[in-house]
Symmetry: C2
Subunit: 252 residues, 2 copies
């Protein structure tokens, strides 16, 4: 029934998506305020280069990554392939911004003669980034181009979905570790006196946790999953019947 009106999204979903965006934007504002007001700002020059790192990582590994995960819930009436391309583009952009953020901290460390990759923050963050790149490549190969057989897609998809949520959670955890490191390196003594910078950065941490919780809640609500559109259902049945294991495009 191509002419039939498609039903609106399930009740509650829009409110939770709006809440997630409010929390994500509040986290971005808090990051900017922290770096701008207390850390001299963000620039690819001199001592400010180190500040590019937290800014890029919050933008990429929390906000963009989280929003990429929500694509299938938000654009539930669009064609599956369009949603899939947007999902891949958002994750791809996140990956690029995150690489800039990592380059910034490696350069900043190198200039100051600080060792690389010694902290728990760096171990968790690097694990998240490498696994994120692997997940993107696997997702692209399995679901977009060249695409795998129905059987292979079906076996990989649950792992891809679990991996997506797990990587967002690990990324948020790595951000919290980074916030704690920055505070203990910069304002160790006044932090315990509830210095405004510390309270702001702690609040940023809670905003990141709240964003992760709300996105995780939206993703794990069974009744908010994107149902296949009527035409996809018919198409997918046809392909399954006709090709038995061949790789149709546009269906996951």
């Amino acid at each position: 029934m191509p002419g039939a009106p498609r039903p609106a999204g399930p009740p509650g979903l829009s409110a939770y998506v709006a809440l997630s965006q409010l929390l994500g934007l509040a986290a971005l504002v808090a990051t900017g305020a922290w770096l701008g007001r207390y850390r001299g700002g963000v620039a690819w020059a001199g001592g400010l280069r180190a500040n590019v790192h937290p800014f890029c990582m919050v933008v990429a590994m929390v906000f963009l990554q989280g929003d990429a995960l929500l694509v299938y819930r938000v654009f539930r009436k669009e064609a599956k392939r369009s949603a899939k391309v947007l999902h891949a583009l958002l994750h791809g952009s996140a990956l690029l911004v995150a690489l800039v953020g990592v380059a910034a901290i490696f350069e900043a460390h190198g200039e100051k003669g600080i060792a690389h990759m010694y902290s728990l923050h760096s171990w968790c963050g690097m694990a998240a980034l490498v696994l994120y790149a692997v997940q993107w490549l696997l997702g692209f190969g399995f679901f977009l181009f060249p695409g795998a057989t129905f059987a292979l897609r079906g076996r990989y998809k649950p792992l891809h979905v679990f991996g997506g949520v797990a990587l967002l959670v690990l990324s948020v955890a790595a951000c919290l570790l980074g916030i704690t490191e920055m505070l203990l390196f910069n304002i160790r003594d006044s932090y315990s006196q509830f210095a405004p910078e510390g309270v702001l950065a702690n609040t940023l941490g809670l905003l990141l946790v709240a964003f992760g919780l709300v996105v995780g809640y939206i993703l794990t609500r069974d009744d908010w999953k994107r149902p296949p559109l009527p035409e996809e259902l018919a198409l997918s049945m046809d392909f399954k019947t006709l090709t038995e294991g061949e790789s149709p495009s546009g269906s996951q």
Copy 2:
């Protein structure tokens, strides 16, 4: 068919549960090794009281909490009410051990004149603990005693399940923050030289993450969920038909 043999667990579940226990035990050993070898041990006296905190929190908020979540997957052939009582007992024990751990750090801070609750670690950890206590009380009230109506249980259960996983994740994140704090307070300079204590504590962090990931994976695999036993299914249908909203005991 009370006499019919019950089927074994789904393939793969036992291996993942065994892996989770190996990771959990490895995390406990790493915690003990860190505190014993580099921090003078654990005791409720003098400077060692502060070490009671990390030990109790890893035991309670990671290992016991994680295992409590696995009860329904592991004891899938036992009566639902038995599994439920074990689930509540394990979470209750975790809560008690965690309270001891929190008392230890408050006393240690008080003795040394260190401010309470100023760090992101303390904010995340306290949020996790308070919500964990609330979740336990709600779970007890809804599902064990006095028990709520079928309709109320049905509405609360998805939130209870999501909250359970989210609280484990938040607890692991709080532990990672605590590890980073301890390292930066105690071995700030040698940490960046890859001091063995730093490497051990980072490894503990990764073990906690791995434990959380494996437990999370087990809990979110749809085909590993505990199916109702035949007698529960019959009983539950009877109750639903007969009482329509009344509160039966022994079913969730």
